[in-house]
Amino acid sequence: MTGGRVATLALSHFRSHRRTRLTFDGRPVAVHGPNGAGKTNLLEAVSLLSPGRGMRRAQAEEIIRRPEAIGWRIAAEVAGREVELRAEPGQPRTTRIDGKAAPQVGLARLARVLWLVPAMDRLWLEGAEGRRRFLDRMTLSFLPDHAEGVLAYEKAMRDRNRLLKDGVRDGRWYDALEVQMARHGAGIEARRRDALERLTAAQTKDGPFPAADLALIGPEEEVPETEAALLEAFGRSRPRDMAAGRTLVGPHRADLAGRYAAKDIEARLCSTGEQKALLISLILANARALRAETGQAPILLLDEVAAHLDADRRAALYEELLTLGGQAFLTGTGPELFAEFGPDAHHLSVTETGGESTVAEVST
């Protein structure tokens, strides 16, 4: 069965990969190689097989391989479908599924992709945006409609923000936009809460990774939940929003609060290692919940995760990945990090010469 899995991946002029072609079976893919070899680039390509700008939040333009700068292409077989992403210089990225142009959000129904990258080490310390994005990514994995809902909400909000900036006072116009924002916003809130419940239920109390208590909070007051309450809040906030030139209330301001459950302390006060462990725990809970529900674990991209775990936790992580049976991509600088996998993983080595990445199969 290829459901939700990447079976083949062909990169052309994608960052450091001039031409890379890979075939995967269901095993975890362990990618090792020196710094700058092109390991993360490989995972980034997989992350782009889900809606959005991928794990680096890159613009299509910066991905274009230099110095040629002729545009990039990713072709992949995902869940038995042919997916093609490409961008020419100066053009936005386009998506084709089975040869037909498709909206990017359509990818959410083919593969569910989740990632942990080094930049997320500071997730619990930095602004709410990163945590919101993390939560939305997990929510999207459970509920593919989330992508359209978020896009629609953001579109209506951009329109409203423009009216606010321009000082437009046509109340009916605001009403009409706020109705859209309330409808899509309530959907966003409901799906996020739904996802949190599933995550909470899927966390294990005494596994190798600590459980997190999660809650959705607002910047000042709680974010209104229902469509009616949101509608009311947008209307009430108009004068304040007009002064600020943007919308100050709504699900786009929500934050994800996390606590280390066993110690009952806020995630941001935990040690760096503990904070990372909380994220791993959440990703694994997400994967378990999805597998229980759909029979298929999501694709996990774990960039430089292995290096920061002690040997016991690393072994526990690998065991969990193998039990989940979903597709996972891991990176690390040396092959010894993945030795515990033995032949249970698909080992790849990435090297770079003259700015060009080469990926080689490693037999075990």
Binding site: A152, K155, A156, R158, D159, V168, W173, A176, V179, Q180
Partner: protein
């Protein structure tokens, strides 16, 4: 040399048409030049005629060769129900599907602050006038299920509220983000039949 410049200008103009790029424009122009009598000249004459004669219907905004379009003029079209569409392409989509036998009103766009399209750019006052003038009992808002389409639908509905006319909108069948112009006839028919009060 002049000929080359004209042809290049023609290619540049064609390349600006929706769905065409420089490559396909070059091919189309070369094709026309080869089929001078069969295609190029008839096309030129027709473009000239259409350019001179076709304008917006003063009543509904549909394309027309006179002040009033054939649909507004036709005794076969039911009065009393107006179907509001964003543009003529959507009117054509409805007509192709043959699901509606009343009259239309073309708004000429949707509210979009980022594109600088506001209520004053849409033909809403004329629609309000028509409610009384044509003794309209129902206005069907057949707008795209996009944020712009639905925001516009909401706005138009609130503008029509004082007239007391029944306002409905297309229901299920129109996928979120869906554009009318791309729907098949069956979907469009289902959406029209299942229209709901706005």
């Amino acid at each position: 040399m002049d000929a080359t410049r004209d042809i290049e200008e023609l290619i540049a103009l064609m390349a600006r048409l929706p769905g065409l790029g420089p490559r396909s424009a070059r091919r189309a122009v070369l094709h026309l030049l080869k089929k001078r009598d069969g295609q190029l000249l008839p096309l030129a004459q027709l473009l000239d005629r259409v350019g001179r004669s076709v304008r917006a219907c003063l009543n509904c905004g549909n394309l027309s060769t006179g002040n009033i379009c054939a649909l507004c003029d036709s005794p076969k079209r039911a009065t009393g129900v107006i179907c509001v569409v964003e543009d003529v392409a959507d009117l054509w989509a409805m007509e192709r599907a043959q699901v509606f036998d009343g009259r239309y009103h073309v708004l000429g766009g949707t509210l979009s602050p980022l594109d600088d399209i506001g209520p004053d750019d849409l033909h809403i006052p004329k629609l309000r006038d028509r409610i009384a003038a044509e003794d309209v009992a129902e206005v069907i808002l057949a707008l795209n299920a996009t944020v712009e389409g639905q925001t516009t639908a909401h706005y138009v509905a609130s503008e029509l509220a004082p007239t007391g006319v029944r306002v409905s909108s297309l229901a299920q069948g129109v996928p979120i983000g869906g554009e009318l112009d791309y729907l098949d006839d069956g979907t469009l028919r289902a959406a029209l039949t299942a229209r709901k009060s706005f």
